[in-house]
């Protein structure tokens, strides 16, 4: 009996599913025309164009592809922008982790939006090659975005490398405020004291002396993310005047820091330190740096955030240390100084990503101009910026000190949670999802003088002369292999798996794997810009 019942249920549910399936399918196909407008193709845009070119007052519809992915129709920023600029925005947002992949596929299938956020120059150049994005002459930017153009030229001049190829410009580069800072260094001063080190080591030699004493009490001197192509021992290299694998200018020529004799010297020293037991052998994994620092396994950490030092935050690194060791202490310190007084920390430079326009906007100049004007106003007028990118005073944020707006602002719960804030289309990093980050003169008042001061403390940023290596035409082809090679060989030399003499073989291999070709391209690019 029981069996039979089961059988009937099976047959019944199967039929039900089949029915639901066919009904749903039909409904879905017929209803598609309406539901699919978010990813509108070019055909629809032309229509919009026809209607909007007649009357200026008409609300312009803009198809927008962007990164933050928590937007809904009710999101504050979306409505604020639509209202402020009298436009309708068809928003197509994609999570960051998958942005590049989805953007490529969507573009590939012919759905080219009016405006799109492009993460990196190499993607932009490929879209240019494929004829997907519109040319944006610099003069046009100058005409519609004079303030932004000026800010870029003064604050982030390398940004133009990101959008120009073959002397034509294909987008609006963004400014990146945080790019001008390096990560903070700190020493565990309690451990230094325990080991009998007086004062905080400032130079490499002082560090070395301190490491030896720390070794006596069973603490490693330093640790780093050896698995990262740029963060491995970066402050030590900085003290030798190089920042592998950035492109740098040396004697009027562009060279890569990874293969310079200075890098070799730094490696020699690091290998010596490693053999003496000053460096945690697990630096190679790059895992659990923060935990080990908190546990007091090593004393010098060079990849900390500002918030790590925040005494008022119960979850800061500093307070985590104190939780397990009441007299534990860490102090922010200047980056180590080399024999010739050099110091430096990796920074990404103050140019960020790119906004590009769909190819079809070449035929819709008024739309392109309108979007540029929107961005200009957002990025240069603090009031507009506040309205569309920071939120509403009293709802999203409040001044730390209403009498002194210069002391910065704080987000009000629940908007102190960045996830919640994101659903409003706002960001606590002070960037507009529709225009990117403004220059320092607009941002800094929001941050507050104290935060800016903190960020500028012990700042010795070193960035690639091109900002991002992928501006070089063949970077996509070789850069992955080169950074891999650099990571591996550097780790091997430090660990003593390879002798320092093998550095020369590494240089040769680097050049053979495309390093030489990239160097030639880098010089060409550098010269061409210098000529202008």
């Amino acid at each position: 009996m029981k069996r039979k019942k089961g059988v009937r249920i099976w047959g019944g549910s199967a039929a039900a599913v089949l029915l639901a399936c066919s009904v749903g399918l039909a409904g879905c196909t017929s209803g598609n025309g309406g539901s699919n407008q978010g990813g509108a193709g070019t055909g629809q845009n032309e229509q919009t164009n026809e209607t909007s070119s007649g009357t200026n007052e008409e609300r312009m519809s803009i198809d927008w592809m962007n990164i933050p992915s928590d937007l809904s129709d009710e999101s504050y920023a979306l409505n604020a922008v639509e209202e402020a600029f009298n436009v309708d925005i068809q928003y197509n947002d994609i999570p960051r982790a998958d942005y590049v992949q989805k953007q490529q596929i969507v573009l590939t299938s012919g759905e080219v939006p009016d405006v799109m956020y492009v993460l990196d120059p190499n993607q932009l150049f490929k879209y240019v090659q494929q004829g997907l994005v519109a040319e944006v002459p610099v003069e046009l930017i100058e005409a519609h975005m004079p303030g932004v153009k000026q800010a870029l030229d003064s604050f982030a001049p390398q940004a133009w490398y990101y959008t120009k190829t073959d002397d034509r410009n294909y987008g609006i580069p963004l400014m990146y405020y945080n790019g001008q800072f390096n990560a903070k260094s700190a020493w565990r001063t309690d451990l230094l004291e325990e080991a009998g080190v007086e004062g905080i080591p400032q130079t490499l030699d002082e560090m070395e002396a301190a490491f030896e004493k720390l070794k006596q009490i069973g603490v490693y001197g330093m640790n780093t993310n050896g698995n990262s192509y740029y963060y491995a021992f970066f402050t030590i290299f900085g003290a030798y005047g190089v920042m592998p694998p950035q492109w740098m200018v040396k004697d009027g020529k562009v060279v890569n820091a990874a293969i310079q004799p200075e890098a070799r010297e730094a490696l020699e020293r690091l290998a010596d330190w490693y053999s003496k037991g000053y460096i945690d052998p697990e630096f190679v994994t790059g895992k659990e740096l923060e935990q080990k620092f908190v546990e007091g396994k090593f004393a010098y950490n060079h990849s900390l955030s500002l918030n790590a030092f925040d005494e008022s935050n119960p979850n800061s690194t500093l307070n985590a240390i104190k939780a397990i060791k009441p007299d534990g202490m860490m102090e922010m310190t200047p980056l180590p100084v080399g024999a010739e007084g050099q110091q430096g920390g990796w920074a990404w430079g103050s140019a960020g990503s790119i906004y590009a326009f769909g190819k079809h906007l070449e035929d819709e100049p008024e739309k392109m101009a309108r979007i540029m004007e929107m961005m200009e106003q957002t990025l240069t007028d603090p009031e507009t910026f506040m309205q569309v990118a920071v939120g509403e005073e009293g709802t999203h944020w409040e001044y730390n000190n209403p009498d002194q707006p210069g002391e910065g602002l704080t987000f009000i719960p629940p908007f102190d949670d960045s996830a919640k804030l994101a659903t409003e289309g706002l960001k606590n990093s002070f960037e507009s999802i529709f225009a990117g980050m403004p220059g320092p003169d607009v941002i800094e008042p929001f941050l507050g003088a104290r935060v800016v001061e903190d960020m500028e403390q012990y700042n010795a940023p070193v960035w690639d002369i091109f900002g991002k290596p992928d501006v070089l035409p063949s970077a996509g082809k070789y850069w992955g292999d080169l950074t891999n090679l650099k990571t591996e060989v550097y780790a091997q030399i430090v660990r003593g798996d390879k002798t320092i003499e093998e550095f020369d073989a590494f240089v040769k291999q680097w050049n053979e794997l495309g390093g030489a070709e990239l160097e030639a391209e880098a010089n060409e690019l550098y010269q061409s810009v210098a000529r202008q």
Binding site: V100, Q104, L107, T108, G110, N122, Q123, F125, K126, Y127, Q130, G131, L132, G226, N227, A232, P281, E282, V284, T285, G286, K287, E288, G476, K477, G480, D481, N484, T487, E488, Y490, A491, Q492, R495, D497
Partner: protein
């Protein structure tokens, strides 16, 4: 003469179709769905032989001949990646594939039903954690102060930096692969064991067959069709050895041994470089199909009833 036999053939066919018409009716909707989503997109394979231009579409783009394959197969780096991939693939075939079978058989021998269920459930848990998470856990577990080194210390052995040593890398890859997938993989074998007619066991016990003989003569043969099928299907993905796992377990010192075809291709995939990706995929497919066809023939040669077709 020729025409007549052709007509006769057609007639036979027709009769056959007619006899099977209800079966066809059952078969067609699902099969149409299958064809739609598995065969219609196959024209994309052409990308591997084209210079793909978005504006021209896949069909309209110019042919590029074997250029992308030259790009893929060039140089020693490819051979190194291929060698590593084959080593890992063989190890995973040799140890990873039988592990769930063994687990299913061992669990089947357990007398405590509740314990069997608990073990079954627990072994399947790691499948639900992505390799980013599992690798994070492993780096702690196998770290210098990790549980593994404490265990090793108990036996008076020297502590090791397990994940930094290229020599241990493949061993760790295979073991952690088993760790992650053994319970999940054994589910299908439980189902196979559950389908065995219990009277077979009863008869065997009555005949005085030992436990070992019952496993060997009843349990294992009953699982054999499933084992063979899964084995053949896995051969098809021979060169796919688990990118996520290897990528997340690799460190600066194991980059060389951890270089597999997937990481090799990924690093060379330029923006919108669908061509190279497709060429690599096609290379995997061709190796896979050669292995499957050969193995299927071997299986058939041994037992006509088995095999995929």
């Amino acid at each position: 003469m020729f025409n007549r036999s052709l007509a006769g053939n057609l007639e036979d066919r027709w009769r056959e179709y007619k006899r099977n018409r209800y079966l066809f009716l059952l078969f067609l909707p699902g099969f149409a769905l299958f064809l739609l989503f598995n065969y219609v997109p196959l024209y994309g394979i052409m990308i591997a032989f084209k210079e793909y231009r978005v504006t021209e579409g896949i069909l309209g783009s110019a042919w590029a001949g074997l250029e992308h394959f030259n790009r893929l197969l060039a140089g020693e780096a490819f051979l190194n990646a291929l060698r590593n991939t084959i080593i890992i693939a063989l190890l995973k075939m040799g140890f990873g594939f039988p592990a769930p079978i063994a687990l299913a058989l061992l669990l089947n021998e357990l007398r405590l039903v509740w314990f069997r269920r608990v073990v079954q459930t627990v072994t399947y848990l790691p499948h639900f954690f992505s390799w980013v998470i599992l690798a994070g856990i492993l780096f702690v577990f196998l770290g210098s102060d990790g549980a593994m080194n404490k265990l090793v210390g108990l036996f008076g052995l020297e502590r090791q930096l397990w994940l930094l040593e290229p020599d241990y890398f493949y061993g760790i890859v295979v073991l952690t692969d088993i760790w992650q997938s053994i319970g999940w993989g054994s589910i299908i074998y439980f189902a196979a064991l559950a389908s065995i007619d219990p009277t077979l066991y009863e008869a065997a016990i009555a005949d005085g067959a030992s436990r070992w003989r019952r496993v060997w003569h009843i349990s294992l043969p009953s699982m054999m069709p499933t084992i063979i099928t899964l084995f053949l299907l896995q051969l098809g993905n021979f060169l796919t050895v688990g990118f996520d796992q290897i990528y997340n377990l690799t460190t600066a010192t194991t980059l060389e041994v951890g270089e597999i075809l997937d990481t090799y291709v990924l690093r060379r995939l330029l923006t919108m470089d669908y061509e190279l990706g497709m060429a690599a995929g096609l290379f995997n497919s061709v190796i896979g199909i050669l292995l499957v066809v050969t193995a299927n023939r071997l299986v058939k040669w041994y037992d006509r009833e088995q095999g995929l077709w």
